[in-house]
Symmetry: C2
Subunit: 763 residues, 2 copies
């Protein structure tokens, strides 16, 4: 029935990227453009008594210096939380461009715009700042103690809990707890990791005192970025124009809203200088002063019957959100929602999520958005329960897995669920039956593990989700779709054009998608929460209905036939198959559109829709090899089975899954931001941060367990984040299968593993 949906259409941005001709923010050049550098706090917590820029201002080539004394003091939240949060007491607006207090090592103190970046950096050295150091707190437990230093006294009075405790209640876990016969309990620790996206944060801001503010940006959400900037600078939102250039070198959650403070700082300087200002984060700035994944710990308890049936789940999560809220609060919701309860039939759920301020770099959104932490906690506890029950972990999961038509705590129904198939397919691919539970000896020991989960197809209910867009037929019958969604890498604009072309009924070659620009289209959330294809696609199929109706109405008059008998197929106006005879001669839309043009008519529609939120499901299985002498873990294979509804572009879906698998492998085994109290993070570059490389990349099998979601456009569900959710649990489970040791803390670095091996097996 579809010509493009379901096909491996080569991604439209591929040529630009493969040839290096595609533009990114750093490529933007504007006449008279200045370059920025930022002065950052050397203290984890201090009052900024004074900032003296007099010497710096005198430097040749310095044009403007922004400090807390000459920039807006408006409180904001640099993430889309500011305009999208759906949690009751939010958004938490705890940031300023520059503030009277610095709250982590790297916090912004001043910024210089100069004719060259070198001059700007030199000028930073001449800015004299007087600080008054304050007591600092670095971890969750210390921060929750009575009398702990207060990181954000105005926003978490008396404690350091950011945004209040996030609670999820379903059924009655307390009342029903004791109905269970077996009780498992685990406490897991997760490290902080960094998105390490290829392109660092950046912005080129061009402020016109009489007109507007135009900002080229690395944001993954152009529209929310526009709204945040309008708020900070007290401008009408219509006067702020945010655009991707058009490409963004990855996002993974690190720039939902602003790109750290790149847009705000570049804009503040442009306002002062009345000239365009480019500010591109160095790799080090990007590592040390933009959001990362939350570190923390989660205590999970499962109450179950002896036959394995789950009775209740009790989860408490404690996440170190660092100095500012950003998306921490919403994330705690998702940790509780999708990570700790999602994929199983739990009739009773109790979840409390604590997001704790500390004087570390801010933690925020990161692919999976809390779900990888939650999944690690829950899947560890499920494995524990299986062990207590003497059950095969796969079998226990199959017993309790959600299925079609189930009720659950999430406010959107399970419209389609192929979790059982995912579990079976992943297990089959990894060779579960042959390999699991085989006692290993010798230096190199192998094992297999499994994990499963669910996620979302957009940010609802924690975040607002809807889209507006435009669609038009050009004078030659070609289709132009305008939506403010960005293209941050997954190829979603290709997939959306496949959807639009099929929905309208025109050849994809005669269609284009204008994206990533708040002037070309009305409100769109942007790219986050695995939403883009699902949510934007949801609107496009509905706009296509309106557009077709407009075409048929005009064509009916022009061709003198009943509009309701008309269809548009592959760019031809034809009679519907079931229309009464005689059928019309096929009329090319190109001809019709030109005739309409000659009669002063263009087919053009606009609209705005909120989608529902269909849950995707997935199961990952891992096979690993552990070296008992070195503690080195080698992942031999990852098998990932995903229920994504219909895969619009299977090869792009596989790309999403595989990239998630590698990120999940890094999370499980290698990546870790190491905080050194009083000195900040050790890891400030790719050199000092152990990303997985091709050497660590295992055999991967991505299995698309295709279904059809009745709420998704053409049956689609989200997929972007899912690849990294149950990866760490599967790997950690496989390690346990190999060497009989369960790890409750990631990453499983050789040091940590070897230490444990020695504890268990002796030297």
């Amino acid at each position: 029935m579809t010509k493009y949906v379901g096909k491996n259409i080569p991604r439209l941005d591929g040529y630009d990227k493969a040839t290096g001709r595609g533009l990114y923010t750093t490529d933007i050049y504007l006449p008279h453009m200045l370059h920025a550098a930022v002065l950052r706090s050397p203290y984890a917590h201090a009052k900024v008594i004074s900032v003296d820029v007099s010497e710096a201002e005198k430097m040749e080539g310095v044009v403007a210096i922004a400090t807390k004394d000459n920039t807006p003091r408006t409180y904001f939240n640099a993430t889309a939380s500011m305009f999208l949060t759906n949690l009751p007491d939010k958004p938490v607006l705890d940031q300023q461009i520059f503030s009277d207090v610095v709250r982590y090592i790297g916090d912004e103190v001043a910024a210089v715009a100069a004719e060259t970046e070198a001059i700007a950096k030199e000028a930073l050295k001449k800015i004299k700042v007087v600080y008054e150091e304050l007591p600092a707190v670095y971890n969750v437990d210390d921060a929750m103690k009575d009398g702990a230093p207060q990181v954000q006294p105005d926003f978490s009075p008396g404690n350091n809990v950011c945004g209040g405790v996030v609670k999820i209640r379903y059924g009655d876990a307390e009342a029903n707890w004791d109905k269970g016969e077996v009780f498992a309990e685990t406490k897991v620790y997760m490290q902080r990791i960094k998105q390490a996206q290829l392109e660092t944060h950046g912005a080129v801001a061009d402020y016109n005192p009489k007109g507007h503010l135009k900002v080229y940006s690395t944001t993954q959400t152009p529209y929310p970025a526009k709204m945040i900037l309008a708020t900070i600078f007290d401008m009408p939102a219509s006067n702020v124009h945010v655009k991707n250039p058009p490409y963004v070198g990855g996002g993974f959650g690190v720039r939902i809203g602003l790109s750290a403070k790149a847009e705000a700082i570049a804009s503040a300087l442009s306002i002062l200088a009345k000239r365009p200002v480019k500010y591109i984060y160095s790799r080090s700035e990007d590592f040390l002063t933009s959001d990362s994944r939350h570190e923390g710990y989660i205590v999970s308890k499962i109450s179950a019957m002896k036959d394995g049936t789950f009775v209740a789940l009790d989860t408490r999560a404690y996440m170190n959100t660092g100095a500012y809220a950003t998306l921490g609060v919403e994330l705690a919701g998702v940790t509780g929602a999708n990570g700790t309860s999602g994929a199983y039939r739990f009739p009773n759920i109790h979840y409390d999520g604590y997001v704790i301020y500390t004087n570390q770099e801010t933690a925020g959104a990161f692919r999976g958005f809390g779900a990888p932490q939650g999944a690690f906690a829950l899947e560890t506890c499920v494995d524990q329960l299986a062990k207590q029950l003497g059950r095969d972990p796969l079998d226990l999961r199959l017993q309790n897995a959600l299925r079609d038509g189930d009720e659950w705590w999430f406010p959107y129904p399970i419209t389609s669920c192929k979790l059982m198939d995912c579990l079976k397919e992943a297990a089959k691919s990894i060779g579960w039956d042959e390999k699991r539970g085989k006692k290993q000896t010798g230096t190199i020991r192998r094992g297999v593990g499994i994990g499963c989960g669910t996620h979302v197809s957009n940010g609802a209910p924690f975040c607002l989700d809807y889209n507006a867009a435009f669609m038009r037929i050009e004078v030659d019958g070609s289709l132009l779709v305008s939506s403010a969604v960005p293209e941050i890498g997954p190829g979603s604009t290709t997939g959306l054009l496949q959807i639009a072309a099929d929905a309208v009924g025109v050849p994809m070659e005669n269609a284009r998608f204008a994206f990533g620009d708040t002037d070309v289209a009305p409100f769109d959330v942007g790219s986050h929460a695995s939403r883009t294809l699902y949510s934007a696609g949801y609107l496009l199929v509905r706009l296509a209905v309106d557009l077709r109706e407009q075409i048929f109405e005009w064509a009916g008059k022009f061709l003198d036939v009943d509009p309701s008998t008309l269809d548009l197929v592959d760019g031809q106006i034809v009679s519907k198959c079931d229309a009464a005879e005689p059928h019309i001669e096929p009329t090319p839309l190109s001809y019709l559109a030109h005739q309409a043009h000659l009669r002063a008519k263009q087919f053009v529609v606009s609209g705005c829709k909120a989608p529902t939120n269909s849950p995707p499901f997935h199961a990952h299985a891992a096979e690993v090899e552990v070296d008992m002498e070195t503690g080195m873990i080698k992942v031999l294979k990852l098998a990932a089975a995903h229920d994504v509804g219909v895969a619009v572009n299977p090869i792009l879906v596989e790309g999403q899954i595989e990239s998630g698998l590698i990120m999940g492998l890094g999370y499980a085994l290698r990546e870790e931001m190491t905080y050194q109290e009083g000195k900040g993070f050790y890891n400030d570059s790719y050199h000092k941060y152990m990303l997985p490389t091709m050497d660590e990349t295992p055999e991967m099998e991505s299995i698309i367990v295709e279904g059809f979601d009745p709420d998704g456009p053409f049956g689609v569900k989200g997929v972007g984040e899912c690849g990294m959710i149950p990866t760490a649990p599967a790997i950690v489970g496989a390690v346990e299968d190999a060497i009989g040791i369960r790890f409750y803390e990631i990453p499983l670095t050789p040091g940590r593993v070897l230490k444990k091996i020695k504890e268990v097996y002796g030297d």
Copy 2:
């Protein structure tokens, strides 16, 4: 009733332009961008036998060379005529990027894209072209002779008449001619002049083989430019994106459609090079190879009663359109329509317009679009008739002037007409009664003259006219209007925002107009034919109705009141004055829009409308001083009274009128493109072309005779071109009043005037 319409709101582009920060095409820089230079024909007419680029290609830094051998041979018309003409046998598609025949000195033969402009120019010298010279023809009379060389044998077989004779018939001039009692006949000659706009033509084209063609352009009609490029390069129109950068340094008709061939050549080179290419015309190229105003002659005959009542008009116009049609054919229509009959009650009209191909530079659209030529012809003939009747020329005009409710030949009704007031006001301002007909003696002699006319508020019926646009309310209640109209100088985007803000009911400070970009908005004709404010405004007020309806519907539910009782005034939702009590508390749109956003709703509308075409009217009076010894003419004062309906922004209307007056003065007295057979035009720069300067600028009084046009948005009519239409007639009439000599040829250069003085008065 209006808050902004009618007010002198400072133009929004003023800051950018006054400070030099506004971007024009030449300011656009793209990474890896190449620079272009063009090889042009040294012959007025020749076959291009071969173009050998082998030596040029070898040069270091040369990346691509475009010739007739490697570029599309699609025939096109580089002007908007290609998609907008409404004349039956059109458009005339007689251009190619590079062709087998060159038809004027300067015609394009090849283009080079190189790392620098200097390399590109050097490479031109190494291209070897073999020409076979053909017989050429340079003027209208020669071109119409039997056996004349054929300039475009495929498009005017057997003669050189481009696009066929343009005929206007109204009543029956032939049958009623003899009912007149007095007959006047004049033949006037008009020179070729150049728009000499500040910014030369230019384009930066960026072609992506997998995606689309993006072109920054100096066009005054982005959408038609996009459609023309799509045709030339056989691409879907949706894949072509044309944008102004956003500013364009003047248009005056010279770039309706493409900017000469800038966009086509830059695109052809970008396609070959797969890199962005910038091509900026030199001033000389702009002068010598882009459209100018038609030279030619017009024979006018009036049949009238002895009491002065007009009986019939017979006009034959012969215009030299040069080598290609561009907008010549449509222009001949307007010459006949508005220039030779427009402002008077002629019950019988016979008009034949001949547009003649020659081997000169192409003539095309130029502010007034044929009307200045026609007005010079008709007003000369009316003055002649007055002389024959012994009547005061003002008096004769008042007797025959069109007035409200009159029927006329134009297919749109006279919806409002204050021509009588214009004539009286202009005469009063110049001191007609005291100064006219006073016998002058001595060396310096003074006189006054008058002329009047009408024009259009858009290109209909000769050209198609309609608009499509988008409008949305942002989450903070601010308004964003998206229309593809450009801002080429008149301040029309400021005026349109005034209209939109009043029509929607929001503060103008909270509104912005996104313009000049085919991605931000659907089809719009662009800026020509005095249409922008009238035609785009026409749509905006209607879109505002839809937008308000959408807002009221949502607000009604949200506030629990009947939507039909609501009004939106200055950004506040209020009860209509006449709504039943109780009235609601005023609710800020900012609050409502945010509440709507939180419920997944943005107010967004799109639409498409064709306006009618309300004629503006005007009268100009001039006072001049003639030096009998030198032949020098000094214009002391120009008084211009204009019926523009409502002046949305009076100071901008005055700017339009005054700039038209100065252009008209240049036309009457100074400007002339001088063709040297076999060598081309002498005038290739501002240095060699006698534009009026501040020295020649007289006292000017712009009188806005304000009315209210029922069809115009907020009562508006067109004004952009009118200032230059009856200026030359008024000046030439004033010269006759001063020295008793009627001139039938412009410009009245000192040499031409002195020669005539000597003929009449002796040495």
